[in-house]
């Protein structure tokens, strides 16, 4: 259970705050107008940004001052998810250990993870030799190997076509269910939230709101979100 307790942050002209928010296990989308602070929210949770005030708690343990690698968060960024000069195998290995040689156990784990994301046999490829979809899968594999209880995804599939994106979203949902991971997913497309996230956090007008039911939020969006979404209605039920 992730708790954000009265977080405040000010970066120049940008400011954001929250009341006490609790996020349970499962998948939670993050929506909001551009520049509202969605990525900043993830950054706060992952540890790349420190709040000016307030606390972040994981299972009631205070993690506010922990550095990123000590947080229970694995993050997939918008880009730069893999080191381009290292092979897929090496990228994944680094998620497990920093030594050059891996144990049999670790190698098996990597093989299994690659298989799970559908990239078997692509160990030796460099990221530049993979397609967009394959790169996303490799990034997912990386974060899986980190095996953290929270997965933060910052518009991870923005560059993919609809069919591929849906495939990846479903994969994320499956993995989350399998492992009981808490997934926070920022996306600019509400359909993504509708597809796999029962709850959504709205970030708008300098505030991080409480998680609410995704469908209801999109059927009756508040003004700020409504302007962002436009005239289309999003009242479809999740899969």
């Amino acid at each position: 259970m992730l708790t954000l307790d009265h977080i405040t942050l000010r970066l120049g002209a940008f400011a954001i705050q929250s009341d006490r928010i609790t996020i349970d296990q499962g998948i939670c989308g993050v929506l909001g107008p551009s520049g509202a602070g969605k990525s900043t929210l993830l950054s706060l949770i992952a540890g790349f940004t420190r709040p000016d005030g307030g606390k972040i708690l994981w299972n009631n343990k205070d993690i506010t001052v922990l550095p990123p690698d000590k947080r229970p968060v694995g993050m997939v960024f918008q880009d730069n998810n893999l080191f381009p000069h290292l092979s897929v195998y090496r990228n994944l290995a680094l998620a497990l250990t920093h030594s050059t040689l891996l144990s049999q156990e670790q190698n098996r784990l990597i093989d299994k993870t690659l298989e799970r994301v559908g990239l078997s046999g692509l160990h030796k490829r460099k990221p530049g030799e993979l397609s967009g979809g394959q790169q996303s899968r490799a990034a997912l594999a990386r974060v899986l190997l980190q095996n953290r209880p929270i997965m933060a995804l910052d518009e991870p599939f923005a560059a993919l076509g609809p069919a591929l994106k849906n495939e990846m979203l479903d994969l994320v949902a499956d993995l989350a269910t399998e492992r009981g991971t808490l997934v926070l997913m920022v996306t600019h497309d509400p359909n993504d939230s509708l597809r796999i996230a029962p709850k959504t956090i709205l970030v708008a007008e300098n505030k991080i709101h409480l998680p609410v039911d995704t469908a209801s939020l999109l059927e009756n969006p508040p003004k700020a979100l409504g302007q962002y979404l436009g005239a289309r209605s999003y009242g479809q039920t999740p899969k």
Binding site: P68, D69, L94
Partner: protein
């Protein structure tokens, strides 16, 4: 882990502190040793003015001359291109006296150009004077600037080039969108580096300057120290020089903006073929550049080639020693540079050439003497000082890319918990391989050709190759000296090529 983060922050600070101490302590020691303060006479002030003026002009000309050459090399692909790029670095690493002889072989009274002119019936042209100094400085430094600009070209991500190509950007538009931003970052700092190098120029200025009008600060320090042994005056002048270099370094770093380019995926660069007209211009530019740089070096090489067989074994021993020192200096220098590859680190790094090596050497001599015999330390001290002397160039070469790497990957590394050692081993050094190779090559070659402090610390049996060269000349044996110069030139080029090749091989794009 908290202490890992602290370690990553501490390393640059420790390295920086070490560099500063290594440079300032000897300077202060010399200052304290001086009996009286010294005042500067009219001759000194005119020397200062001249020093700044010729350094400014040299830097300007080097940069201006480098732009078309770099562009030609970046645009065109042809056989021998990599060899030429390697050769481009050669003049910078030559020992001064060898290079001056080579330049005179082409431009001097008795040189090629004048021979050709006399055949045509035109009066001989004399380069002795400011023009001579500028030619020599451009000869030394233009290749370095060219390499820096080329590196800038290579650092433009492939995606951006493809975007420009797909937009059909040519000529002026292409320049404005692609080249100019890159040059804005590279040129001011290249200018600064050359300016700083030329500030401490001495032998070149004197020999080619034609007379006492071409006196520089460094000569003043040389005279004060080796001749008059007026430590006070030497310290004052050295301090002045330090101040000048410091200002120039600060200005340079301030002016060079952070890398404006976004990260690419290391996809190989695909070049658009250029039209025939441009190809023609580029070919001319490259040919002229090769002639200007290559003929003097070729002359030196050939002149001594025959004599090599008759060189005594001691020359080869000295060569071995030089190689050893070069290896040590390179390692030291790279170590410092990798730790200091950030903006303030680069300013600090300039301290390396800010203080006259004579003064540094004397200071170190005084500092060591109470504890040990400085002569036993001659090799180590030479290694350290050579590392310091190359540090500014290495930093200039490494910093832009080092900063990009940090910007692009620090978050990924942080989330994966990469500690300092893992970061360096897996990410930092591998992604910096190409500039590291180049920088290592430069340092190794520079160290080979450096007379260095060894002069002060005495040589006895531990002579280095450049010193042997001077000894031969001092014994009237000009032919053998030419042969030694050939060996020196060959070794410098070889050591440079080895490192550079390593860098280019492993690098991507």
């Amino acid at each position: 882990m908290a202490h890992r983060v602290v370690a990553m922050k501490a390393v640059p600070i420790i390295a920086g502190g070490f560099v500063v101490c290594l440079v300032l302590f000897p300077l202060i020691t010399v200052w304290m040793w001086a009996e009286t303060g010294a005042s500067l006479g009219a001759a000194d002030w005119s020397a200062i003015r001249f020093t700044i003026w010729q350094a400014f002009l040299s830097a300007l000309l080097s940069c201006v001359a480098a732009i078309p050459v770099a562009r030609a090399l970046a645009r065109q692909r042809f056989i021998g291109r990599s060899a030429i790029i390697v050769l481009l670095s050669a003049p910078f690493i030559l020992p001064v006296i060898v290079a001056v002889m080579g330049i005179l072989a082409v431009f001097g009274q008795n040189g090629l150009i004048n021979s050709v002119l006399s055949v045509i019936g035109v009066a001989p042209v004399s380069i002795y004077g400011l023009s001579g100094i500028l030619i020599a400085h451009v000869f030394f430094n233009m290749p370095l600037v060219t390499r820096m600009i080329l590196q800038g070209w290579l650092a433009i991500p492939a995606e951006r080039l493809r975007l420009a190509d797909s937009l059909g950007l040519k000529g002026w538009a292409r320049f404005r969108v692609l080249e100019w931003p890159m040059m804005q970052q590279i040129l001011p700092s290249a200018f600064g580096v050359v300016f700083v190098i030329c500030l401490s120029s001495f032998a070149v200025a004197l020999t080619l300057g034609g007379g006492p009008r071409a006196t520089t600060l460094e000569l003043g320090i040389y005279q004060a120290f080796r001749f008059d042994f007026d430590l006070g005056k030497a310290a004052v002048l050295a301090l002045l020089q330090f101040g000048l270099v410091g200002v120039a370094a600060l200005f340079t770093v301030w002016i060079s903006s952070k890398d404006p380019f976004a990260q690419g995926l290391d996809r190989p660069i695909v070049h658009v073929t250029t039209g025939r007209f441009i190809r023609g211009i580029d070919t001319c530019v490259i040919v002229v550049a090769i002639a200007f740089l290559g003929i003097p070096m070729l002359t030196i090489f050939v002149k001594g080639l025959l004599g090599i067989i008759s060189l005594p074994f001691s020359i080869w021993q000295a060569a071995g020693r030089s190689i050893l020192i070069a290896a040590g200096s390179t390692l030291l220098c790279l170590g410092f540079a990798l730790a200091l590859a950030r903006r303030w680190g680069e300013v600090l790094g300039s301290a390396g050439i800010a203080v006259s090596p004579l003064v540094l050497g004397a200071g170190l001599f005084l500092m060591i003497r109470p504890f040990a015999n400085p002569f036993d330390w001659a090799l180590i001290v030479t290694m350290i000082l050579n590392a310091m002397l190359s540090l500014p160039f290495v930093l200039r070469i490494l910093r832009p890319q080092a900063e990009s790497i940090r910007t692009d990957y620090h978050r990924l590394a942080a989330t994966m918990g990469l500690g300092p050692w893992a970061w360096v081993r897996w990410i930092y050094v591998p992604r910096l391989r190409r500039p590291i190779g180049f920088a290592a090559g430069l340092t190794a070659a520079l160290s080979m050709g450096d007379l260095g402090v060894i002069v002060l610390f005495g040589t006895s049996d531990h002579a280095t190759l450049p010193l042997k060269l001077y000894q031969l000349m001092g014994a009237y044996r000009m032919d053998q000296a030419a042969a030694a110069a050939t060996v020196l030139l060959g070794l410098s080029l070889l050591s440079f090529w080895i490192f550079d090749y390593w860098g280019r091989r492993g690098a991507h794009a």
